[in-house]
Symmetry: C4
Subunit: 281 residues, 4 copies
């Protein structure tokens, strides 16, 4: 089994080139989408591995379709380094302002996961109801754009809106955006993906527990502290990343396997004679 | 990336030929089906791009199977322009009467989406619980066929039933049909699909929020007004349409890729010798 | 479009040969399984098209795997006409006793659909919350094996147990078996499948409506009577059967396409040289 | 049909070689994962068929990816017989301590199935709400790591933690781990898989029943005793195992069919000329 172990080590080591980092970020986008955390909207970014004052984020595109070629390089003020000549995510300041405020954060995910929506619509606090839910902490902070900015279209598009959200996040790993969504931070892309998915799973379980009434038990602060360290151990990150990657591959959604979407044809192609066709094959 | 941008612009421009419009409408039917808004029943139509007094709607067929060849041309009174010599949707007056009453509407979707059913069965008002839910407005109107027409089979088949529903819709974008389903209007096929899917997502989140009790927060009127304009911006429509199209393609359901359903065989084909078979290939 | 219409007519006409009937029944088993009504357990039968005192039912096998070759011919007392030399469903008397009691019934489905379970566990009455739910009637009867037979393993295996269930069914189309499952009757295989699937959908919607509290509205008796006739019209049956068949085909589960399940290999095949492999193809 | 019967008998006979046993255990891991009982975490083990003081468990890997090559041989104190030179499950003492305490148990499954989470978060007792739910018994015991060990990371990693859990299990077949997950025991791998899946299905139904209020009915002790014997009959195990295997095969997840996950490519391959490509094929 030595060979396999080596392969795993190689796969999970910190990407040491920008090329690998970009490939990892593209796959991260597809993983969170494939796991139901993100749909057409939402995004995952990473701090530039070679320059802490830059970050990488896809052009305006559904995360499940993102490839390394879609990634745009932004400075810390969320200005693209080069004119991308394409549509950009309007909410990119979420990423830039968190990277500015939190030097320990190297990846950010913003989403509107269905599992969280019942909490966000009712202002119910998130609590970890099992060990893996500890990645979100106990009662992480809420933020409501209305409080500071009044009526908006709810999108976090101005630098001051992003900065306000980053302040609300504080030293936590997730911040709940009332009547909107969630923003998750991580020390690495894999850590951010792990936190995004397992906090969403925990939210799902908590909501279903609330729906049957009774008291929903939380981990204790001590348990949450200790269980929260699981994601920092390589073994759990490796196992889950391999699992989620396999699921992306099964769905036909690997970045390397991405094929152009066939356009609906207005007219079916004329039938070729069977003989002719099989000859050509 | 200039090329990609051009491709995107081309894809999302208003279809300028009837052929493209028909292909778009077939795909729209498959998208709403693939996203779980419609099952065997329900339908999406579009106003004829060349004649505001006509509209296009599939023959009686599950939307996930519709191709451009299934589309029938109707006049504004929901009479087919030519004898279609095939089964027609009995509820087509829903479409015709809304096109008659609302010149700004160019596409209509009627469905019985599971996400809405708990609201429709209890008469609970729909409220946007996140920004994309604003596509349905705040507390859109309810309509109950029983009120005006007494006991029926609940299908909207008579012109006066369709006209009554269109009156209830008024200047809104969705109307809730108690103990039946929902009808959604849009300024274009893409707008109608966007409204159909995101209002269904919002209904799902609202229902789950209601199931845990507590007060379910709505967007404010100001927020709903501003967030409701998101779907009018090209970028959101493009991103989500590309995403949903990819999902249809992944499921093997692209109109152009549609193959005849294999009939169950009563008798398995006789086994050919392996050698013979591979020779024939 | 004349051709298409003819094809549709042909497809939905009553199967006029035993061979076609057996193929239809195999597909019916796969449809209800593929739609989530049945899992490893449950079954669909049909009255023998040539002899009202016989019926056809699969050998003991998960319905999603049933082929026409698995069907066993039973007499009205649920005795196989020939020694099947294979395992049989222990609950086949459900089918036989209903065929005995109800000459108008030509197909029976027994299942433990998740959608119904919350009703069956709490004894909550089923009510149609939308027009297609009318296929189950208003408040169909409940039956509890405990009432007449005391402690059993809950399976309906004795003729008297089946007869008791048939009496409870009476002139209804579905009977709810408390803490067990549901049995559905139909005038034909397609009618039985239609009733099984849409009553399950309705149960799902009703349960979700109950979970948000409030009063769940039922169709009125007049509406239920009129809407209940929808399934007797060919158009609805055709449309939904084609849709469900397409979904079975998409899942790779068509009877004619059934391939033997690959066995897990204890040893991976030795790698062939690439060149050699492509030559053999 | 004689042939088919023979094949079935062969497939379900107790594996008489270690090679077959290892293949069965790999498939068992994939089945419980594919049925939604296990995700990236959780595991299924079996007692060594040739030595009751040993057991087989995968290296640290998501169960849906496990092959026979991943299995590690452990002694009854959960020490690997050979240095596995790879990551191991930290919670393996769950398995070892149950094998130590329960000579009649030959397979163990530990999981965090979503269906159980609402019960585990609220401390609600599990009750069988339909016959197949009897595999979990009536009100099986609860265990909370906090009670005996105070604040931990919730993982069962020390031998004394595993022994405590085994004591809580007692003579039952499942034990509920509050704010964590479930551990299931079985007389064989197939029995353990059957109990794991159907207890999870029952939990799902019970939770949904609780969400609509009202009294949730349990099987009586007599019914549970009789219905609990269903899984000991070969016919039910055979039917469900074949069904679940087919579903693994459909998902492309058969151990024998496992292919290496394609890595995302940082650079698309240069396009080959069409002619050249088809020649090479």
């Amino acid at each position: 089994m030595r060979d396999k172990t080596n392969i795993l080590k190689e796969e999970t080591s910190v990407p040491n080139t920008l090329k690998d980092a970009r490939a990892e970020l593209a796959l991260a986008n597809r993983i969170v989408a494939n796991e139901g955390v993100i749909d057409a909207f939402g995004h995952v970014s990473m701090r530039h591995p070679g320059d802490p004052n830059r970050y990488l984020l896809s052009r305006s595109r559904a995360p499940e379709l993102v490839t390394h070629e879609d990634l745009i390089e932004y400075d810390i003020d969320s200005k693209p380094l080069r004119d991308p000549q394409t549509g950009q995510y309007s909410e990119r300041v979420i990423h830039g302002e968190i990277y500015k405020a939190r030097p320990d954060v190297n990846s950010v995910c913003h989403h509107h996961c269905p599992a969280f929506m019942p909490l966000l619509a009712t202002g119910t606090d998130y609590v970890p109801v099992f060990h893996l839910g500890a990645v979100g902490g106990i009662k992480p902070p809420y933020w409501d754009q209305q409080d500071e900015f009044g009526d908006t279209n709810m999108l976090v598009v101005k630098p001051e809106e992003g900065a306000s959200l980053a302040r609300a996040l504080g030293q936590n790993w997730i911040v709940l955006m009332k009547r909107h969504g969630v923003t998750v931070a991580g020390t690495s892309v894999k850590d951010c993906v792990f936190r995004s998915i397992f906090s969403a799973r925990n939210a799902e379980y908590q909501v279903r527990a609330l729906s049957i009434g009774g008291n929903v038990a939380s981990l204790t602060p001590g348990e949450a502290e200790l269980a929260g360290q699981i994601s920092r151990k390589t073994t759990g990150l490796v196992r889950s990343w391999e699992y989620w990657s396999m699921r992306v591959a099964k769905s036909g959604g690997m970045p390397g396997a991405a094929r152009p979407i066939p356009k609906p044809k207005a007219k079916p192609a004329p039938k070729t004679r069977k003989g002719a066709k099989s000859r050509r094959r």
